[in-house]
């Protein structure tokens, strides 16, 4: 069973003359542990597609299936629960919670799942070591470098072993060295945890490391290359 199946997804914003068709009949499938990039110019619909795949937004029409289950008709609480349990997010601007330490940011998704402190601690400690931030666990986000913040973001997305990871321009705010390191980390964790990755990026380097590259243009799927 594929992890994601999108059939004829449409999404538009605004009304009348201001109406913009962000996605037009987009269809594709992503399998387990696939590492997929979405490429396209600004305004091509990448963010809309990620929002729908990440259950942050709903399609106007079409069918979106996550592990065979249709996402159409889910209410806010059900989408929230699926995000909590199954989906990890890596944001372009890391989006760490400023008032939480590195440890607390990474532990937060597990707290939301109702895990006990005792079960959270070893998992977070292991993840901190994997991303090389064990020595920074008590620091607040503003005390970290850009690369470190992004690594915390990746750790936070993967700590709950999600089935799907949505990454929006994860290397955009990083220099080449940090971008390379982060991508390597994501790839390693993809292979260890078996999560499917859907990464929006303009970065050639990112695309070179992905299993597939989906090309979006003007809201349509213009290419799907391995």
């Amino acid at each position: 069973m594929p992890r994601l199946e999108l059939h004829a997804i449409r999404k538009a914003y605004g009304a009348g003359d201001a109406r913009v068709e962000a996605l037009r009949e987009v269809s594709f499938v992503i399998d387990d542990a696939e590492f997929v990039a979405i490429q396209g110019p600004s305004g091509s619909g990448k963010s809309s597609l990620l929002s729908i795949c990440g259950l942050l937004d709903v399609a106007d029409s079409g069918d979106y299936r996550f592990e065979g289950r249709s996402m159409s008709g889910l209410n806010d609480a059900e989408r929230c629960l699926l995000r909590r349990e199954q989906i990890g997010f890596i944001f372009q601007r890391h989006q760490l919670i400023p008032a939480m330490t590195v440890y607390e940011n990474i532990a937060y998704p597990l707290q939301l799942q109702g895990e006990s402190r005792r079960s959270i601690k070893p998992r977070v400690t292991t993840m901190l070591e994997q991303v090389g931030l064990a020595h920074r666990q008590a620091h607040l986000p503003h005390q970290l470098s850009g690369g470190e913040r992004q690594r915390v973001g990746i750790a936070r997305a993967l700590i709950k072993a999600p089935r799907l990871v949505i990454a929006d321009e994860p290397s955009a705010s990083l220099d080449h060295t940090h971008a390379h390191a982060c991508l390597q980390l994501m790839r390693e964790l993809n292979q260890q945890h078996g999560a499917s990755f859907l990464i929006a990026s303009h970065d050639r380097f990112v695309m070179d490391h992905c299993d597939r590259v989906l090309q979006l243009a003007d809201g349509r799927l213009a290419g799907d290359a391995a």
Binding site: D76, C80, I97
Partner: protein
């Protein structure tokens, strides 16, 4: 851990937090100091009322008029009631008082008066600090039959009559049968109630003098002074049961027109001031929370993307508002207590209020019940204000906020 995160969020924007804390703390301090002043005023007026008329009063069955005690001389056989009351261990003092009116003459000068006949032996013992004798002395408790009756005049009345201590004046009044009677009296002292409208027409003589003048032994009221720990309402009910139809027993509150009037006025003023402060606190907190929600939309969206339910997000903002409220209320308690203590320590005096000729010491009551009630009320207002504003957090569009 949520509390620690709430604290970090509070101090993240410390200027706004400080401004909010100051608004609440100053508002609370104003309530505490203002409330303390009002409580002191209530206590003082209660004390004056109880000292001047007793905690409980026995009057004739038909002596009650709407709005207060009709002071006609209608209480008969009061000596029996008085004797019985004196034997009650809860009773400290029983004072008969006879109110009467007439004219007072000194040489060619005449003025109307409102007089009270009192038990000179006990009457002046109950006034405590409220007894103000600027000139002369108190009435002599025991006069021999050959001695001239004595009188004490209000200071202004003495001025009107140009009377000085030792002068002989004449009281003129009418008996119930319509006959005019008069009594020469020697001026032994002046008193000052602090209310010029009283001091310009009141006088005090002994009860014997009034009874001799009027030809009967009826009185207006029997004032009963109780031990401080006696339940006044309970005593009043028991005494009423004992006396039955013989007389009417009322508490001090029934005749405390000044206390009730001032209390009603202060209650209104304090309610309006309190309402204004509550509105200011409500707006300060709701504004702070609304700004925080607006500025942290992307954080709210991130929490939502991670799977935090809207209620979880709102709870965090509520916790922050309550933490802010607790800090502010703590600061307000300290500020209020500090200001009240400083005022009390400075021993300031207030100018005479309207209708009074003497000022009074400014004392701010510190009642922990009052303090805790106001603190709890403000925390409740804080929670309500935060609840109103925090609802915006549930309306943040996650996808739009993160794009």
């Amino acid at each position: 851990m949520s509390l620690l995160i709430a604290w970090r969020n509070v101090i993240r924007d410390w200027r706004r937090a400080l401004a909010t804390i100051l608004i609440i703390a100053v508002g609370q301090a104003a309530l505490l100091v203002g409330g303390g002043f009002v409580l002191t005023a209530y206590d003082s007026l209660q004390e004056i009322a109880k000292r001047t008329q007793g905690q409980v009063m026995v009057v004739a069955r038909d002596a009650l008029a709407v709005g207060g005690v009709d002071q006609r001389l209608t209480l008969t056989a009061w000596q029996t009631i008085s004797d019985a009351l004196w034997s009650d261990p809860r009773v400290v003092r029983v004072l008969p008082r006879a109110e009467f009116e007439g004219l007072i003459r000194h040489g060619a000068l005449t003025a109307t008066f409102s007089g009270t006949g009192v038990d000179a032996q006990n009457e002046f013992k109950v006034y405590g600090p409220f007894l103000n004798i600027p000139q002369g002395e108190l009435l002599t408790p025991w006069l021999s039959p050959n001695d001239m009756a004595e009188v004490m005049l209000g200071e202004q009345l003495a001025q009107t009559l140009q009377a000085t201590i030792g002068d002989v004046l004449t009281l003129h009044t009418f008996r119930t049968d319509g006959s005019a009677v008069q009594l020469p009296v020697k001026l032994v002292g002046l008193f000052k109630t602090g209310t010029p409208e009283l001091d310009d027409h009141t006088l005090t003589v002994t009860l014997d003098s009034v009874q001799n003048l009027l030809g009967h032994d009826r009185i207006s009221v029997l004032s009963v002074y109780l031990d401080l720990d006696v339940n006044i309402d309970e005593f009043q009910q028991q005494l009423q049961q004992q006396l039955g139809e013989q007389a009417r027993v009322i508490t001090w509150l029934r005749g405390a027109d000044v206390y009730l009037g001032v209390k009603a006025l202060y209650d209104r003023i304090f309610s309006v001031a309190g309402l204004i402060i509550i509105v200011v606190v409500f707006l300060a907190i709701s504004n702070t929370v609304a700004l925080a929600v607006y500025q942290r939309r992307d954080e709210i969206a991130t929490l939502g993307a991670l799977g935090a339910a809207p209620l979880t997000v709102c709870r965090q903002f509520l916790l922050e508002a309550l933490l802010l409220g607790v800090i502010a209320v703590g600061a307000g308690l300290m500020l209020g207590y500090g200001v009240a203590s400083a005022i009390n320590f400075a021993e300031l005096w207030m100018p005479p209020p309207p209708g009074r000729s003497v000022g009074y010491p400014l004392y701010i009551s510190v009642s922990w019940v009052h303090y805790l009630a106001i603190a709890a009320g403000l925390l409740l207002v804080t929670a309500l204000a935060a609840l109103v504003s925090v609802r915006q957090a549930t309306r943040v569009n996650i996808a739009r906020a993160l794009s």
